[in-house]
Symmetry: D2
Amino acid sequence: MTIRVAVIGATGVVGQQFLVALAHHPWFKVERLAASSRSAGKRYAEALRDPQSGASRWLVEAPLPEGYADITVEDAATFDPRGLGLVFTGIEEGEAARQLEPRLAQAVPVVSTASAFRMEPDVPLVVPYLNADHLALVGKQREHHGWKGFIVPIPNCTTTGLVISLAPIVRTFGVQTALMVSLQALSGAGRSPGVSALDILDNVVPYIPREEEKVARETAKILGKLRGGVIEPLPLPLSAICTRVNVRDGHTEAVFVSAAEAVTPEAARQAMTGFQGDCADLGLPSAPEQPIAVRDDPYRPQPRLDRDTGRGMTTVVGRIEAHDALPNGLKWVLVSHNTRMGAAQGAVLTAELLAHQGYLQ
Amino acid sequence: MTIRVAVIGATGVVGQQFLVALAHHPWFKVERLAASSRSAGKRYAEALRDPQSGASRWLVEAPLPEGYADITVEDAATFDPRGLGLVFTGIEEGEAARQLEPRLAQAVPVVSTASAFRMEPDVPLVVPYLNADHLALVGKQREHHGWKGFIVPIPNCTTTGLVISLAPIVRTFGVQTALMVSLQALSGAGRSPGVSALDILDNVVPYIPREEEKVARETAKILGKLRGGVIEPLPLPLSAICTRVNVRDGHTEAVFVSAAEAVTPEAARQAMTGFQGDCADLGLPSAPEQPIAVRDDPYRPQPRLDRDTGRGMTTVVGRIEAHDALPNGLKWVLVSHNTRMGAAQGAVLTAELLAHQGYLQ
Amino acid sequence: MTIRVAVIGATGVVGQQFLVALAHHPWFKVERLAASSRSAGKRYAEALRDPQSGASRWLVEAPLPEGYADITVEDAATFDPRGLGLVFTGIEEGEAARQLEPRLAQAVPVVSTASAFRMEPDVPLVVPYLNADHLALVGKQREHHGWKGFIVPIPNCTTTGLVISLAPIVRTFGVQTALMVSLQALSGAGRSPGVSALDILDNVVPYIPREEEKVARETAKILGKLRGGVIEPLPLPLSAICTRVNVRDGHTEAVFVSAAEAVTPEAARQAMTGFQGDCADLGLPSAPEQPIAVRDDPYRPQPRLDRDTGRGMTTVVGRIEAHDALPNGLKWVLVSHNTRMGAAQGAVLTAELLAHQGYLQ
Amino acid sequence: MTIRVAVIGATGVVGQQFLVALAHHPWFKVERLAASSRSAGKRYAEALRDPQSGASRWLVEAPLPEGYADITVEDAATFDPRGLGLVFTGIEEGEAARQLEPRLAQAVPVVSTASAFRMEPDVPLVVPYLNADHLALVGKQREHHGWKGFIVPIPNCTTTGLVISLAPIVRTFGVQTALMVSLQALSGAGRSPGVSALDILDNVVPYIPREEEKVARETAKILGKLRGGVIEPLPLPLSAICTRVNVRDGHTEAVFVSAAEAVTPEAARQAMTGFQGDCADLGLPSAPEQPIAVRDDPYRPQPRLDRDTGRGMTTVVGRIEAHDALPNGLKWVLVSHNTRMGAAQGAVLTAELLAHQGYLQ
């Protein structure tokens, strides 16, 4: 099986992460790249070059994989996806995604990191470990719009780790309420211009616009049930305070919940470590050995030491403890890699699941 | 009025902060310094010098104030406080404080940053803005032990900002439960060796030993009522997750509460900004204009920009918002200067209050 | 004496630094502000507000001084300076300064932080401690152009500390050649967008465009002699490697020179500490006690500890040592505050010198 | 071929790096571990555990490789090396190495990261790419002391990158003098206590004790000629200023030289990229493809992006330019991984070279 794919937004940081995640991929082969009209018509390596300074705008840690440098970048606005099996979109501006993705979905499946369509009723919002069954919504979506393709977005990178660590607790014990404080990494803010060094050195920024609402809404949808072609969100009151700290990659999140029944830290720990998730044993190339790893050292998880666990696809949890500020109170800390599981590589895993389930024919 | 004082632990970072806070103080005059036997007998400037590298171990940002360099450091273990009006102790090791402070209190009042005696029933734990009346406990304390002096500790630096921002909400609306996540500064970890740069660069450390328990216990005691010579702690379930971030000074804390009655963010804001506290209008030299300042910019408070408000004695609050994860849910973010209000300068303010109330005769 | 002044580029970071440097100034009174057409017509406080996020773009550490918030910002492109005694320009883009400053200089004196005119033959490039006599060039300038005013730029912030520390060595012993490596602070890169946090965390950037050439050229001009209305640059071969490090303020520079005659570190130290400079005893409000302070602790100067010496107007030097890699080899390390002496406050000191010498009538 | 080895100082950070460098090594098999008497008798995993906090003191980024956890740690002071083919010592204190290494060398070859014996006349100081022939000195060494083994230290981590980039220029064009400023990473300072976070946040420390002298002496010895059983150091005047910056791994060094003959940047570039070195084509497992990689992007090398080139064994050079501050002046910037090529992995490469040349029989 080889599925021919394109990456739209290829010169941006998320697009670059797609290229790294898709290099040497056993199922997907990147054949075309698209970006804004400024880059269109240039070789990819040229499109990356800053016209003034001559410096490369390749922004991810890994070097540019082989095979991309000579692809001619196309104009996303007029990109014709016919002939491809799938398109990945990594567009940072919401408005652009809102225009572009439906046009592409007329012809081909679209897997997207953008937030534009996450909360549409006929759009599944999928974390492959948690709610693979929601993908069935794409049938509805095709029907509504008369599309050959569909749009499947992945969640916000701050939602991802939270919802993965919550799922086994919700399913095993029930959760009445949840509170979360995030200490988010710089790379979650993108790159143009992203966070200024002067703003974050020796500092914390206690606000990320619209992030807290997204986390609450998306978590309820992901943990919801698909019934009769409609997703019923989980009725889970959830409040977050999202902050930015001076860390490159890896969101740290401190979580308090009130469980529906009594739960010891050891039982919570077992629910998490025993959690296999919906894509265990499916042979998906990007799936990690386990969705959640629990550390017993009280000084863990730490973003620098734990973000790369399971090649960045495993959520690492520690400090699971009881507390009495809420009924059946439980608290923990997690680290989730915001640009791997939380962005391009999470989208690639979602596409693998779509392929496995037969949605990419 | 001039009160002759000594600083014990003078070569450590808290002791150094005492010297800065007491330089040019209108009421207190530092006449003697003490430290470990290693420093005893040396001029203070000499005692600060690293014997191997020759570098100065003066560790605070402000330069060494005039007048201290030539004082001969005494041995804390045999220090005789008679003749002084007050002793400040800034000893970082708990065990040493547990030995030393009662011995000193036999003769003179002791104001301490150490945790050793904070939870003793006859020891007041005072934030001057909040519970000045608790100081009356020192009468009990003298009586129990037959001391001429007494011990008054200040709270943990992480408790301080939290309890100051909670007080007006507790008193105006009542609080049923509270949850807090701290993003603590490096200087709170002391200096010998403190936090290693390798451990915190590009990182967060999600655990600070014993900090979370201290915050819960101390908050309940400070907000408690003194009745019949006994402090009844406030029955406030409180759970914290305490983390360390790469910030020099200024603890940031994200707080969620469930109030006892409905409260709008605007009402909470007014309760905080209108809060005068117990040392308003007393003319205490270290008291700020207001105990709490509220910022309306959603990107504030930030530790680097807000920690020095009111010369580090004002707690800065922002992002006051309602939430529905708890009944009458309210959340906010605060910044409190951990080495000013949270340590030496907070202890000096406490001593000023003791002087004003006539406890230092 | 009160001289009415305007600040052009008032909403940018250099303009903001001007406002802080000029608040409560005994001689200069800011009466008017100008910026791009985007800000024109708004109150200054409004012009600072980000239209999307509502956050303030006040970017300097000190809070906005009183008295500016309600001034209506004018459009720099059409700003009419008549009636003012002096205009400060803090424009970050070279091209804009090249258009604007000559137009303003037709009517009034202009003191500028921009690089546009620094190397013009009839433009003095002044460090007030070093070459006050070069200001006489403004007569030539007026004559050439038929202006009532003139343009006096200050040097690049990386030149400033280097040339101040070199001057006493050049004048006392002579210098045959000089090599310098800078470790420059983030604030030198401006703010829009400035340095991205992702680029500098756990990193060094070994290149700053055009900086190395500027340092060499400007140093030679500043240390040159004004003879017959022409500045003869000092014939000093100088090569620099300029790097960016993760420091907020304060450029650190490591310097090697080959002196023209034998010089001991102690003699070099005395030449630096004894250096009074051209504005000693003139009563200029922004002048520090001494242009250069020498630290004997081998671990100094450090940018965080030393940048604020003399309110940021003193260059701090340490590690003065001999070496044998060059004839009469000497090396040292310096720290210079790039946004105080190296930018707005240095420009204000230059204006004070102009006022003192009678150039602002 | 399997050579049985031990690692001495196994619980320290250099020892841990040895364990990572030797995991799955095709030639060397770690059979024994030794450390201070505090750790002796414990399982290695236990010896790493902090007795107070329970946290692991495993300090390197990579996780503890399999196979070490259950080895019982021996006491270095009484360690009997007989039966081993080689001992690696990674002892951070100079005095301890001075006692221990000669005792071990009586029986077996010792490859060491310590500085204790680097400048002894009968001790080769080897960078495997540069002066493999110096290893012949070990015959002298054995003879002098009557040892069965010998001591081969590797250079200081700051010397390593400098001398590798200098070698092709010295050999092709000659070098009359060299000046270098280092911006050194935190991990070079070790870990107990290493650099305090408070000292380096928003800061640069301009001094590293004894580093500058080591760099000069070691460079001259490594580039020297072995003639008649004696190393004649290269007569190369060299002065360095060594600073510490807030970077985890990877020393950045800015270099100025005066070549013996005219040399264009392009010729220097070719000499560096064409440099094969003494261990090309020998099949040494730790040898990189090329000792030196040159980057053309003027913003490179950067420690975070370039330190891992060639698995940390390649020195990355950029910004090769001419300058006129010295005759035939040339300058460049390099990044060298201080804990890979500059420490344990560089020692392993040296041992591979010893094995290849037949010194480990």
